[in-house]
Amino acid sequence: MRISRAGLLVVIAIMIPILVELRTVLAYFSVSISVMETVLIGALAVGALVLWAVFPSTDTNRPNGE
Amino acid sequence: MTELEREIGHDEYDPIGTLALIAVYSAILVVMWLFMYFVEFLGNDLTVVGVIG
């Protein structure tokens, strides 16, 4: 784990407001995506984050996030 | 309650991270304020103006 499970949960929670507002922000740049696409992007982003997190830490002597 | 790696006293502590975070926050505030005031509010229809005459 690169970050603790609690840390991962917190990061996912904080990503949610960003994802929720993503559509609004993109709309101002004339990029319109649907709700389903937003959910898909969200799932991908969270998936990528989890993958990154479970990868073995390169720096094992620092128990961060405890 | 917590394991400390080191003790940082008053004179050796500079909250640079706080300054960085708060700079980001105030930048967001300014941009959002300008957007809300000049686009959402003044760009909206039927603005209430002074009584004529």
Partner: protein, 577 residues
């Protein structure tokens, strides 16, 4: 050192009683919140539109008044006794004010609940703001008065304890937690005077038939004289937790005791002369008064912005002591696994967002865009509904073991609970803000109109409704998890290895604070002068224009509404037809 319950067993009982009163209100209020959110968004409707307003009144009173104030008298009692290291002077008196607050709550709740029962000629579906000439049953006003008197006596209890301590420690600085309690209570006395005058001089006698009419604008202005400052009465205990608890839990020390004092002094002097900013769109108040109040309001941002720095810097101090590095990397070194920390930190993060929507509300003319729309509901669910409520819930995970002597039942559930609150509130509050910008009104049972539709610039109103319903449901689940956790904790076994009852040390301590900061008389005098300056002219002008009892108009008891509806519908048909 030991746990609070061992240091002050008698005081721990009163704190426990206050907490349980608070949590009952949270449970009932939360359930009503779920009912409302589902009704409004048309997901589940099992009651009439009229009953919605009764539910809304109860939701508002229970959560904004009962939940918050019972909790804060609990932690204020803790703060006074812990920081002065002495018990309260007379516990009979303490139980007296707790009793008054409880009786007041029950008396106010009776007529509200009677609103559900058509056959009982009693109701109080007047919402949290009870604007005349809508009229509630006298019991409602009486209950509120008794409740407020209870809080006044609680303040007297703490002041008395401090005065006795001061006689024994003439040369010592006021300990920071006590300083926070005293300054908060001082502005509470000053601001609750407005609502007390409004109720005792006008609304209560009027509901008893002694006065025939009241001045709607005057009683409304007196309400807001109190109604804005009361939000700081909820917020200051949350700030207190951020100053006293967060640094410690982060593994650091409070960055600056003097600045914390400055912040509380600023709230004491500035929180009351700002209430008219809730009345930017009221006829009968000159634009000049509105502008003056706006400048006061914007300067009231200062203590909150200072708090943001001081509290985050204290957390950073902890993170760096725990090995954190970098501009932002130190954030990883914070104790995110601890629900007390995570709950408070996320509450603070949401308060930063609330600060933004509050700045919009405070802007005199931009207020046209958002006044009384759903935006405002989104805003205060971030402030009292998250900055305060989530901080209180997170703090409970520390306090409940301290005052019961039991171990927290389940730390993981607690972490999930605070995260769920954050996510639920993200959905609900964000969609409320967006809906407000479309013009969707607040306080409306069924915001679907026959003659027009709200135009969503992006997505749709249905989508926003879905987000609101989802968010509200998550919040309710979060409340259930919270209550389950505290109840299971309370029924557990006593343990001996509780953490000590203590709060954060300071990097820059009280000795660095100028002595004048502790001069409570001076700050109170300044606060009074500012209130006189801000309110004398507007109040005189309102009375001069409309008279003390208003230019006319009768009372509108919120009873037998269904009958009146039929009559109105008939008149309506006649007028239009």
């Amino acid at each position: 050192m030991s746990a609070y319950v061992d240091q002050f067993p008698a005081e721990a009982r009163i704190v426990r009683a206050a907490f349980w009163s608070s949590f009952i209100a949270l449970g009932v209020g939360g359930l009503l919140g779920l009912v409302q959110v589902l009704h409004r968004t048309d997901v589940v409707r099992f009651m009439s539109g009229a009953d919605y307003y009764t539910v809304l009144t109860l939701h508002g009173v229970l959560l904004a008044i009962t939940f918050t104030i019972f909790f804060l008298v609990g932690i204020f009692t803790w703060a006074i006794t812990t920081s002065l290291d002495r018990g309260l002077e007379n516990l009979r008196f303490t139980w007296l004010w707790y009793g008054l607050m409880s009786v007041g709550t029950v008396l106010a709740a009776i007529p509200i609940l009677a609103g559900f029962v058509g056959s009982v000629d009693m109701s109080a579906s007047v919402l949290f703001t009870f604007y005349a000439p809508m009229q509630a049953h006298p019991l409602f006003y009486l209950g509120l008065t008794i409740f407020v008197v209870g809080t006044w006596l609680a303040g007297a209890d703490w002041f008395r304890t401090w005065l006795v301590w001061k006689r024994e420690h003439p040369d010592e600085r006021i300990p920071l937690p006590t300083f926070m309690v005293l300054t908060t209570m001082l502005f509470w006395y000053l601001s609750s005077l407005g609502v007390a005058l409004s109720i005792l001089l006008f609304l209560l006698p009027w509901s008893l038939g002694i006065w025939e009419q009241v001045n709607a604008l005057l009683t409304r202005t007196l309400f807001w004289y109190f109604g804005h400052a009361v939000v700081y009465f909820w917020l200051m205990p949350a700030y207190m937790m951020w100053y006293l608890m967060l640094p410690k839990i982060s593994g650091g020390k409070l960055f600056s005791d003097p600045l914390a004092r400055v912040v509380f002094v600023l709230f004491l002097i500035l929180s009351t002369p700002t209430g008219i900013h809730h009345q930017y769109l009221d006829p009968g108040i000159a634009e000049g008064f509105k502008f003056i109040v706006m400048t006061n309001t914007f300067f009231l941002l200062l203590p909150s912005l200072l708090t943001a720095f001081t509290v985050v810097a204290s957390m950073e101090h902890g993170a760096r002591q725990r090995g954190g590095t970098g501009y932002f990397g130190w954030l990883k070194a914070l104790p995110w696994r601890d629900p007390i920390f995570t709950g408070m930190a996320l509450a603070g993060l949401m308060f930063a967002a609330a600060g933004f929507s509050g700045m919009i509300n405070a802007g005199m003319n931009i207020n046209y865009l958002v006044h009384n729309t759903f935006w405002v509901v989104g805003h205060f669910h971030l402030t009292v509904g998250t900055a305060v409520a989530l901080t209180f819930m997170a703090a409970s995970y520390w306090f409940i073991p301290q005052v019961t002597g039991k171990r927290l039942w389940n730390k993981s559930v607690a972490l999930w609970q605070v995260l769920l609150w954050f996510v639920g509130m993200t959905f609900m509050s964000n969609a409320m803000h967006r809906a407000g910008l479309l013009g969707v009104p607040r306080r409306t049972a069924e915001p679907q109109y026959a003659g027009f539709e709200f135009e969503a610039g992006l997505g749709s109103v249905a989508e926003l409704d879905a987000q609101i319903a989802l968010g509200g449901t998550l919040l309710f689940v979060s409340v259930v998890l919270f209550l389950a956790n505290v109840v299971m904790t309370a029924v557990g076994d006593r343990i001996d290895d509780l953490p000590d009852n203590e709060y954060a040390d300071t990097l820059s301590g009280a000795d660095d604070a100028p002595l004048v900061l502790d001069n409570l008389k001076l700050w109170t005098a300044i606060a009074v002068v500012l209130v006189i300056l801000a309110y004398t002219l507007p109040l005189l002008s309102i009375i001069d224009r409309g008279g003390v009892f208003g230019p006319g108009g009768g009372a509108f008891p919120m009873v037998a509404e269904s009958l009146r509806l039929v009559v109105v519908a008939a008149v309506d048909a006649g007028v239009i037809g």
